[in-house]
Symmetry: C2
Subunit: 477 residues, 2 copies
């Protein structure tokens, strides 16, 4: 065969024979690039987003753990029957579901509550009660992404189950307080927040007292519109949908609009609810929460009794919590929850009352960003060692190792390049210091420690004894 020329396609040489048709095997022609892209509503997290997220998660879980909440994990996939019909009609519709290769109907979890209910029913005999867990994990919902919502996001729940003691409500309040204290306080600043508390027992007690105990849902629906439509329209709606008399409706509104200091509100509620055991129990529980929070050192203005908050029409049965950053009122509640009567009734006959809350990690993170409280960094280390002289690479390795043994993270640049370019790489990532050793420094057993933010630099000794002290004090200054 005689070749007079040819061409390269995808690294393969295709000779062209004289008088022949050009022939490229199909397998080669089809080898096109696949477009690298993520699904709509799904996100990659690059280091500069991931590092502060991990820092936030670390802070949050440290608080959970300091109260004895324990981590658990459950599978991403569950039998469909575990997940369907457990949230709302909307969550059913948004479910990522399919038949697996074994023909089982399965779905990806849409929250952490339903898997926890299934988990509790399955393992409670082994776990014992009270049981305190936290669970930080991703959940999936095929939501409309136009509202800036994501189809894959993180939830961050903690719960105490198997006890009706108000001390667990107290603890839930304190965890919310400590988490937000920890996250919102930096060396320079503190963003104020309030935790609003209420008890469903107050409204339920009121309705019980009025003989409207079975009308809670319609009453709550009407109350929810108070700010929008005003007192008279709410009264009218209660008359219509809950069959309340004008007097009854106004009595409900009296309770729901109790205002003033915590003590004022609690006293007013005690008056209005006098004689009703359930309602007074709710008030007493709120009082206990405020007292214990005070004993735990929370500032007085931190917890606010607010009878207007009303989470989860059917689910919550006692204390409820919402929390707001004072500087960002429009952000909405960043951590919410409450007490419920029975977690896992669909899966077990054992009654599992509990109390818990869920931190809105994405929302809180967005808030911190808006407040300028997210430190921008794309690095996990404090010290950068450039490869100033390729002949010294083994020495750099040893030096980096010495720093790591002191607990100092070090990134060693792997290639010889112009020093300026290497330092630019480090600076772009937000690494604070560079430890520079050229052949001259190596001979004198010293290094140049350069502060990449200020540009200043100082020489430090690499002598065994002096080095640890010199580097640690330099990094701290």
């Amino acid at each position: 065969m005689f070749y007079c020329g040819g061409f390269y396609y995808e690294k393969t040489f295709f000779p062209i024979r004289i008088g022949c048709k050009v022939s490229i095997p199909d397998s080669q022609l089809k080898k096109k690039l696949i477009e690298p892209r993520t699904l709509k509503g799904f996100r990659d997290f690059l280091p500069e987003a991931m590092i502060p997220r991990e820092r936030l998660i670390d802070r949050v879980t440290k608080v959970y753990r300091s109260y004895g909440f324990c981590p658990i994990d459950t599978p991403v996939l569950e039998y469909l029957e575990i997940l369907m019909g457990k949230g709302s009609e909307e969550t059913d519709k948004q479910l990522y579901r399919f038949k697996d290769s074994g023909g089982r109907e399965v779905g990806m979890r849409f929250d952490l509550t339903v898997p926890f209910a299934r988990f509790s029913a399955q393992h409670i005999a082994e776990l014992g009660t009270p049981f305190k867990r936290y669970h930080l994990a991703k959940v999936w919902r095929g939501e409309n992404t136009q509202a800036g919502r994501y189809r894959e996001f993180m939830q961050c729940d903690f719960d105490t189950i198997g006890t009706t003691s108000v001390m667990s409500d107290v603890e839930t309040a304190l965890v919310i307080n400590d988490v937000l204290e920890r996250v919102l306080r930096t060396n320079d600043s503190f963003t104020k927040f309030v935790v609003r508390v209420n008890s469903r027992k107050i409204l339920n007690g009121t309705l019980e007292k009025l003989g409207l105990a079975d009308k809670a849902v319609s009453v709550l629906r009407a109350l929810d519109k108070l700010a929008k439509i005003g007192v008279d329209a709410v009264v009218a709606e209660m008359e219509q949908t809950a069959g309340a008399s004008d007097e009854q409706a106004r009595a409900i509104l009296d309770v729901a609009s109790a205002k003033g200091s915590n003590e004022d509100v609690l006293r007013r509620l005690e008056d209005l609810l006098s004689g009703n055991e359930l309602g007074l129990e709710g008030v007493a529980e709120l009082r206990q929460i405020l007292e214990s929070a005070n004993a735990a050192g929370a500032p007085e203005e931190r917890f606010v009794v607010d009878v207007s908050i009303a989470r989860g029409l059917d689910y919550y049965t006692g204390t409820i919590f919402e929390s707001f950053l004072t500087d960002l009122p429009k952000l909405g509640s960043v951590c919410s929850g409450g007490r419920y009567d029975n977690l896992a009734e669909l899966y077990t006959r054992q009654k599992l009352p509990g109390v818990g809350a869920s931190l809105g990690l994405d929302r809180l993170f967005a808030g911190l960003e808006e407040l300028g409280m997210v430190e921008k960094t794309a690095s996990t280390v404090d010290v950068f060692i450039p490869m100033f002289d390729a002949n010294l690479s083994t020495k750099y390795c040893g030096l980096a190792s010495r720093l790591r043994k002191l607990g100092i993270g070090v990134e060693l640049y792997p290639e010889f390049q112009k020093l300026g370019r290497q330092l630019k790489y480090a600076d772009k990532k937000g690494i604070k210091f560079a430890l520079i050793v050229g052949s001259d420094e190596a001979e004198r057993n010293v290094a140049n420690l350069k502060d990449l933010r200020s540009g200043g630099s100082r020489e430090i000794s690499l002598d065994t004894d002096a080095f640890a002290e010199a580097i640690v004090s330099a990094l701290q200054s």
Copy 2:
């Protein structure tokens, strides 16, 4: 109507009228419990499994971070075209795939390498090179579960891409060393391990020298059987499948069976490969890894040049790593990886060479359990405060808060019960100390600190100044 009796079913009373058929509404009869269960091959993690797993993960990521590797995350779901045909035929078959409600063909990731390739292609311009990432996340494979394998498991990868420098190979070796050092060393014991290193350049150089450069895959397949079928059968197979002569096959076996001290092996390889640039480059790189590991303080016996290890027939092109616990040789490699020429060629024309490794978290954890190195605990705190006297609950809250401010985790039992039962709860969870305050102690402003393992106890003052010191020293002793 006149009722003479009835019965309860699902919390509802069904009266039985005289002379009437028993009638239970269908809606009630159908309300059966859903069996709480997980899918085959999927696991719940209870606290006593999860707490040591998180501790392990924490140790591993701290090492990754100390070298400047940064966390990233990618979606669990990817477009099917991103995932299909990227692993083996087997991974294609095992893929959890479905059509989402928008009609897109999607799949759940089966490893962290393919998503990282897609991620790199998509973001490398923004990230810049070299880029060092780690990724700890779950992956899914519909594997046969009979072999004790799971369909949902954790992977734990770290990689450096965008550089061909051997210093990144060195660093990969050091990270593997540091991770296993950190995990296998406790106060009482140290489980030895070795990291076996090889370079694909050595075999490829050998084949190049013999004029068999394109036969690497069949040669490797034959070599792989050496221990099983012996030298002569391997020679025969190489003759058959790789078209090697008897002399060529024996020359390959000479290289592949070089044994002795690291220096012996390297010298022997230098002899056998003399004149072949690629092969000698591989040897020089191994030498550099050993030297740098030595400079970083790794014990001499830690790294072993082993020309018999051969990972990833097509994927790896340079250094390769495997690591084994000396006491558990049958466990297999707990951390493996190597250098590759081009990570993301399916998604971008930009060449991204790299080197990395993957920690077998489940396997390592199983090994640690077998070695008795997993501390059994179902608690995240060191101190338990029983509710010895219900009237003191607010005081307990304050006390717990003081301890937490000292960095000491505390679990407060939420209900009043017999002290013995409360202490049993704490002991079962593995909490080490109980801080007991009754009314007598409260009056004298002291507490009883009980060591739940030894049973011993001592009284400590709750005075502001003395308390912190007393409790910290007591917990440390």
